[in-house]
Point group: C2
Chain length 154, copies 2
DNA sequence: ACCTTAATGAAAATGATTTTCATTAACAAT
DNA sequence: ATTGTTAATGAAAATCATTTTCATTAAGGT
């Protein structure tokens, strides 16, 4: 059901003594096949189609797990719910950032200038590490705005 | 009680037909005198000391209002509650970004490299505006990491 | 001092996420 | 293949931040 990359996370899980379960397979399956930034409930709804027994709690629990394993990233786009994205998605560009329409809430992945952004981020990261004695683990860059069609609706 | 900058927001409010009320004065007073990034409840608690009649609802309502008036900014630092900061704070550097410790949740305002960051952000902003036909209204840059003492606690 | 109505506060409602707990099912050992 | 251990699950209840409702209060123009 989800091709050759199975072994990868299987091994990853087993090393930690974690089990390969149907809900886990189904959740990763959904994440693997979307270009969107799904919320827990949206993932639940999607998984539910092929695995009707799934519980929303299980989705939450596994998203938390996957996040701390570094397999998915959790985002806050200002709509009051967390959204999740596979860090290595077959459906997406590599390192990208997000552009959010505050009107219709659509989220656009962009990677124009990301190289430059990352270069600067690295520089800032080093400066901050040194100045504040932090071990930097991640960053967030987002742009907010109003898309073309939402502007029309004003 | 809060010096010479009163007239400023008073005028601002009155122009919109909004009233100058005790709760509003008290909330702005608190925001004016902190270097922290307070949540609604923290603001409520603080205001409550000098104005015990304040309601949490009123705090939320006014924070929303102040945000849409462009007087305060609302942030999400990943601890599940919104946090607020005066955009022009007498207690803070001008345009700054945030460094968050995921251990103890402390938030550090930094402005090293902010000029460079902003320069790049402007460039990206223009590119994104053009490419996606967006009218960009804001951005978020944050770094996450683990501070020195939290690293010790691991 | 009076009126109009914006603003408030308390309580209830909502919505996302977490916790609890009894049941189920992975999978290591047999 | 069968079994035993215990990680994982699902349902229901609990929690927590935020929003809504609605009757009351108080700004501030008259």
């Amino acid at each position: 059901m989800n091709g050759k990359n199975n072994p990868e996370w299987h091994r990853n899980f087993r090393q930690r003594g974690l089990r390969i379960t149907e809900p886990r397979k189904a959740i990763l399956e959904v994440l693997n096949n979307t270009t969107e930034h799904l919320s827990a409930e949206e993932i639940y709804t999607e998984v539910h189609k092929t695995y009707p027994n799934i519980g929303l709690t299980t989705v939450y629990r596994n998203l938390e797990l996957l996040e701390e394993m570094g397999i998915i990233a959790k985002f806050h786009f200002g709509d009051g719910r967390s959204r999740y994205e596979l860090i290595q998605s077959p459906q997406k560009p590599g390192h990208h950032h997000h552009l959010i329409c505050t009107g219709c809430k659509q989220i656009i992945d962009y990677d124009d200038f990301v190289d430059e952004e990352i270069e600067l981020l690295n520089k800032v990261e080093q400066a901050l590490s040194a100045a504040h004695n932090f071990q930097i683990t991640g960053h967030t860059i987002q742009f907010y705005g109003i898309c073309n069609s939402c502007r029309g609706n004003l």
